[in-house]
Symmetry: C2
Subunit: 350 residues, 2 copies
DNA sequence: TCTATGGTAGAAACCGATAACTATCCCTCC
DNA sequence: GGAGGGATAGTTATCGGTTTCTACCATAGA
């Protein structure tokens, strides 16, 4: 049975030292184990530590100049399997490196993002990992540049994960994945299967990921000599409802698309639902593909053909590269993506 | 453009004070705003702070006795929509209360759990929230009791979220949800719909949640005067594969069940897959229901009838009750659960 | 016997912010 | 004119662990 001390009376090193009949310094050395201490003395100190259930004060250590052993993960929203997978990667790598992981959310609010970064500066987080697509405009670049510099001044490192780089010369690490290439591969796959009228559902204007994916979509069309009807690129929020609504709008207008490329797997879930409601069979009548390869993808009916994004690895790399910084060349990585073929896409026979 | 200071040279309050030509104390008072400072002086200090891009050192503050503004969330695994929702609730409430949230995972390893708790004691987290089902044995109770006491000694509060209480007199807050009641309601619903041969798939022996749900399952049978064939309670892991495998095993043995109660929604996804592979129609031939109501539930085909667990509220309550402690009576809450009827269950016509 | 040497342990200072106390200044009122 | 008091700013000490420097003892070698 552990001692039933009253609340808030934590034993300090001095207490341990007193109980062991040595100085605080000796107790500290036993705890750290980086200095020779005579075995009998060490035993007495260890005894006292166990008796008092001593734990060091991390804040005192950090104040003394030691690293804080903390990395911070900042995301839009902790729900969403996309973020969850990245969080898992971050947490795992952090744990593997003996760090604890702070989790913060911004709900897409730049002001809150700035507030969170300020809080993390106060805590001297060793790395601050910002995750998720962002509006890639001048304001964004400026903000990230400012964050990078103030974090650097606080001895911490900014990591942009799945976000555009603020440009060279800015002290930040960027870990991205190949949006353009993934979209290209998927579009090429559909084109190779005979599809010529492919709708892209879920364009969020200005969002960096959207822009890159649409670029790949276009390039594949061009490379295959396929005409691209701009009216097939449909706006829509990155949500089930967004996917369903955009599909409803598209089908109200025209029903000649033979394939739908959903901006994300979640959007694809909405697309599938909307099509099912209209009696359209997938993949017999229309092929549907997604992007992300979240766990949901394989649970949909039919199981979703999609683009695999290495979320967990993204998180691990973010932590790894922030903590062990090599040559400057390593400050930007792009992880590969590839398509995963399941059951939601079929050849289109003219 | 922000100042391009070299790395690691953070300005201190003393630097600010020097630049403003005042004492550190005055600068501190301006920062805290809890003491009258003459407007011209305040302006000078604020100016200096902005010039130097000053941020306080949270560790110094914490060392001085202030609260650390940190709550910790400890879970088995950050993936899993179940945990993600709780994490969201915890993070939101923490943010609302001006706290940051530490995220740790244990992968179900008690040793790692102890190590994590020790780390959190070092950091003086204000609350340590342990989430997720646990083996409810004597060892568990002992461990939790020990955690509760040592955390209390460190001035922090243990919260058990969705876990059994270690008993009265232990300084811990328990936030649970009604497993037994939810399982009872769902079983009663199936029985009311004429089902008499209901399989329970996904028993993890010894796990507290499993035991409670099966208790509800039994009680409903008893109350409805329905015989319960013990061989219909099938073991299986809490995973898609577990659900699929258990279903395959069951169907290999007997095919007379008219309904399947899956231990969790994830298990239900596996059950649905296994049934689909066997050409069994849901809900026409067999009804399938789950437990948790994670987002996936409404994306399955057919949309899953399941038991709603208020995950996010669970997280919020955990933080709220740990931070504002009222009378001791509030140390244990049980949040309600209720069934959500969708499309995966239908009446059984004899 | 006296001095090098190594092995141990302790004392003082420091990290940065702040609580508690003290010291001014200046104005008011007796 | 001097005591009293409000408003403001500064001094000192403290939180707990670590770094750096110093002090001691014992044994070995001269």
């Amino acid at each position: 049975m552990p001692r039933r001390s009253g609340p808030g009376k934590r034993p300090t090193l001095a207490d341990v030292a007193a109980r062991a009949g040595v100085s605080a310094m000796t107790a500290s050395r036993v705890a750290a184990g980086n200095y020779p201490v005579a075995p009998p003395t060490r035993a007495k100190v260890l005894r006292a530590m166990r008796d008092l259930d001593y734990v060091a004060n991390a804040h005192a250590r950090a104040l003394g100049g030691a690293a804080t052993g903390t990395v911070a993960l900042v995301l839009d929203d902790a729900t969403g399997p996309f973020f969850a997978s990245i969080a898992r990667g971050v947490e795992r790598q952090a744990a593997a490196e003996g760090r604890l992981c702070l989790l913060c959310t911004t709900h897409g609010d730049p002001e809150r993002e700035a507030a969170v970064v300020a809080l993390l500066r106060e805590r001297r987080a060793e790395a601050v990992i910002l995750v998720g697509g962002a509006q890639d405009c001048a304001t964004y670049t400026e903000r990230m540049t400012a964050f990078a510099h103030s974090l650097e001044q606080s001895g911490s490192r900014l990591v942009l994960c799945g976000r555009p780089s603020p440009g060279p010369g800015v002290p930040a690490t960027v870990v991205e994945y190949d949006n353009e290439g993934g979209a290209y591969a998927m579009t090429a796959y559909l084109l190779d299967n005979g599809h010529r009228t492919i709708a892209y559902v879920g364009r969020e204007p200005g969002l960096s990921t959207t822009d890159e994916r649409i670029a790949g979509f276009r390039r594949a069309h061009a490379d295959h000599g396929a005409a691209l009807d701009e009216s097939l690129i449909r706006p829509g929020a990155f949500s089930r409802e967004g996917g369903a609504a955009a599909t409803a709008a598209l089908w109200a207008e025209r029903t000649d698309a033979t394939a739908v490329f959903a901006a994300t797997d979640i959007v694809a879930a909405g697309v599938l639902r909307a099509l099912r409601e209209r009696g359209v069979r997938v993949p017999e009548d229309v092929s549907v593909v997604g992007f992300d390869d979240i766990p949901l993808a394989s649970d949909l009916t039919p199981a979703l053909t999609t683009v695999r994004v290495p979320h967990e690895q993204l998180g691990r790399e973010a932590v790894r590269r922030a903590l062990h910084r090599g040559p400057e060349a390593d400050d930007r990585v792009v992880l590969g993506t590839h398509i995963v073929v399941r059951d939601s896409a079929a050849p289109h026979l003219p």
